[in-house]
């Protein structure tokens, strides 16, 4: 359990079949870490350990009845997490494995939609396990592979020992073109310190854009046939909250279906605090966080990751949110 919030952290493990998810899960379950985890898997593998609990999921994706076709949740996950919360003795963490071709959005959205789940658990991070040797091919073939990279907070580039340094650098550049905010960790046999993937607080608004992309080096060099791509917007001029809020609402409604993830840190005029926002499809949340530091430029920046998002329209709207500058005396 997370003492700071009293909420059990949930880590989502996604990635293609054969990338190393099961190896990673087996490691977490067998390693002597003194923690107690519940693991929600789609099929019982060769796991089942004393202190931990392995739960069989059905991967049921439910559409919400609110007129929003991208508002999907994992129905079985709601049921299982509610059940886990009924147990005596809480878990240090919960891991949810998704099947190879699954869309991570319904899992993430479950934590935004269901108030009872959100009251007791928190989404910690989405970890995408990728096979260093085969990822490039998969990205070229399957939109699902691109979306799993797009959703990830951390990509474990597994089987890194089977690939040359040049090829690794190439794969990493490709990953960054899809998702500029992701943390990439090279691994062999999913051998990674557990603190690299657990307890990351990647969905905490306070930590939004902690792993910042290179905002100044405009144009992430998108692969021309990529189905998923990203772009960043920057403004040195503070944004007008009267313009920004309606605009960001509109963007998440209008482009929510294709908007996989959005993260932003916004400076408002005469506001000592940073405003932070994030979205998964149409699920948008935001709040004030810490104060701007004196040595920190009050730059507003946003990253959009999505499917064929109209950069020009979004950028134009963003620029129109800039507050009017006081006329110099």
């Amino acid at each position: 359990m997370d003492m700071a919030t009293d909420k059990t952290p949930v880590t989502v493990l996604t990635g293609y079949l054969g990338a190393g998810k099961t190896t990673l899960l087996n490691r977490i379950l067998t390693e002597d870490h003194g923690k107690k985890y519940a693991v929600i898997v789609n099929e019982f593998g060769e796991v089942g350990i004393d202190n931990d609990l392995v739960v069989d999921a059905d991967e049921e994706v439910f559409e919400m009845n609110n007129g929003c076709i991208c508002c999907t949740v994992r129905g079985d996950l709601i049921r299982i997490l509610s059940g886990l919360m009924k147990r005596a003795g809480q878990f240090d963490g919960i891991l949810v494995e998704t099947t190879g071709l699954a869309d991570p959005a319904p899992v993430a959205q479950t934590f935004f939609v269901d108030d009872d789940i959100a009251a007791r658990t928190r989404l910690d991070a989405i970890v995408t396990v990728a096979d260093a040797k085969h990822l490039t091919g998969e990205l070229g073939r399957a939109p699902e592979a691109q979306e799993q990279i797009a959703f990830g907070d951390i990509v474990l580039l597994n089987k890194a020992d089977l690939v040359s340094e040049d090829d690794l650098a190439g794969v990493e550049a490709r990953i960054r073109s899809i998702n500029p905010t992701v943390q990439i960790v090279r691994t062999t046999r999913a051998d990674v310190p557990l603190e690299t993937i657990l307890g990351r607080h990647a969905f905490d608004l306070d930590r939004i854009l902690e792993n910042e992309p290179d905002f100044l080096g405009h144009g992430h060099h998108a692969h021309h046939d990529d189905h998923v791509s990203s772009f960043s917007l920057v403004s040195e001029t503070p944004l007008d909250p009267e313009k920004f809020f309606p605009w960001v609402q509109m963007i998440s409604q209008e482009f929510g279906i294709d908007l996989l993830r959005m993260k932003g840190i916004i400076a408002f005029p005469d506001d000592p605090k940073r405003y932070v926002a994030q979205a998964v499809h149409m699920m948008l949340e935001g709040d004030h966080s810490r104060e701007w530091r004196d040595d920190e430029p009050r730059t507003s920046r946003m990253v959009f990751i999505g499917r064929n998002l109209p950069r020009d329209i979004i950028e134009d709207g963003f620029m129109k949110c800039r507050a009017a500058q006081p006329v110099p005396a």
Partner: protein
């Protein structure tokens, strides 16, 4: 009204409870059932290896049926040994009992119906995994809350099923006392109602809740449906030909703005007991339209289950993080 309140600290999260003969039975997250008799004695018994996920009781026979994450459904009768009704690999998620002596439980998408006196359950497969089960008071149906609506099994002929459809995830199910209406609660903070004889034409949404109205119950006279999930007590009319369809709800405010999590109607009265998010319990009287506090807030968290004994004298309640209460309210 005289009231004595006995508190039981189970030391584990509580799933819920129900009345059985002259006792209130409470199920916990450590696989135990605590039987609290009306004189104040408590006997605990370990039935499951993990958490009890659901509990149902049959007040007449005194049977307690539990569903566990150890894959078991267990029935225990007064002075009897526990009887394993089901032992499988998947969690047993839900359980229900009927006043006619039937028992039902579910694991994933499979419903198991054990009619009174039968040796083995009848199985049925629902369109999705099941969130809740309930028997209709008229003895006609076993209903399951599923994705896309309510899945009904005809008790007289379990091979015959019906689907009351409405897009979305449904997480609780109940039937009006006359058996004419089925009501589910939904993930979208709304209830849905169908007239069972004309479900395609006669159905409707009962919305506007700030939280999931997962708990609801009909008043003893069957004329109103009291619902949780709001700071106010929301009551829907069920006396017209189409019940609440096309009607407005009655809303009753209390001084405190507290979200209610669970409600239950008191038998033989016009009263509703309400459990709140802070662990307090109140009694609302429809005649006087007054709220009376029965139990104060508690660190053990929200009230997640409430039940009355059939004679309306005893009120039992459980709080999520481990403290149960049993109140003697006197005869209604």
């Amino acid at each position: 009204m005289s009231m004595t309140l006995k508190a039981l600290d189970a030391g584990a999260p509580l799933t819920g409870g129900g009345f059985t003969g002259r006792a209130y039975a409470v199920a916990d997250g450590d696989g135990r059932v605590h039987v609290c008799d009306f004189e104040g004695a408590v006997a605990a018994r370990k039935l499951h290896e993990g958490a009890i996920l659901a509990v149902a009781t049959d007040e007449k026979s005194g049977a307690i049926v539990t569903a566990g994450d150890d894959g078991k459904a267990i029935r225990i009768r007064p002075d009897g040994e526990p009887e394993t009704l089901h032992d499988g690999r998947k969690w047993v998620d839900t359980v229900a009992t009927s006043p006619r002596g039937h028992v039902a439980w579910s694991a994933g998408k499979t419903i198991f119906l054990l009619p009174k006196g039968a040796d083995a359950p009848v199985e049925a497969t629902a369109p999705s995994s099941i969130s809740a089960l309930s028997f209709s008071p008229d003895g006609k149906w076993l209903g399951a809350a599923v994705y896309g609506g309510a899945f009904l099994i005809r008790l007289a002929k379990p091979s015959e099923t019906a689907m009351l459809t409405w897009q979305g995830a449904h997480n609780a199910i109940g039937f009006s006392p006359d058996g004419r209406f089925c009501v589910t609660s939904m993930l979208e903070n709304a209830l849905h109602v169908w007239r069972i004889d004309k479900p395609e034409e006669k159905h409707g949404k009962m919305g506007g809740y700030p939280a999931k109205p997962i708990s609801y119950d009909w008043t003893a006279d069957g004329r109103y449906l009291a619902t949780a999930g709001a700071e106010v007590l929301v009551m829907w009319p069920f006396f017209g030909a189409d019940g609440p369809i096309g009607q407005q709800a009655g809303v009753f405010s209390r001084e405190q703005d507290l979200l209610s999590r669970t409600v239950v109607a008191r038998p033989r009265s016009q009263q509703i007991a309400i459990g709140y998010v802070d662990g307090s319990v109140a009694l609302f009287d429809r005649k006087s339209q007054q709220f009376e506090t029965l139990a104060e807030e508690d660190e053990a968290g929200q009230v997640n289950a409430l039940s009355f004994s059939a004679d309306g004298r005893w009120l039992g309640f459980t709080r999520e993080r481990g403290v149960a209460g049993l109140a003697d309210l006197g005869k209604p």
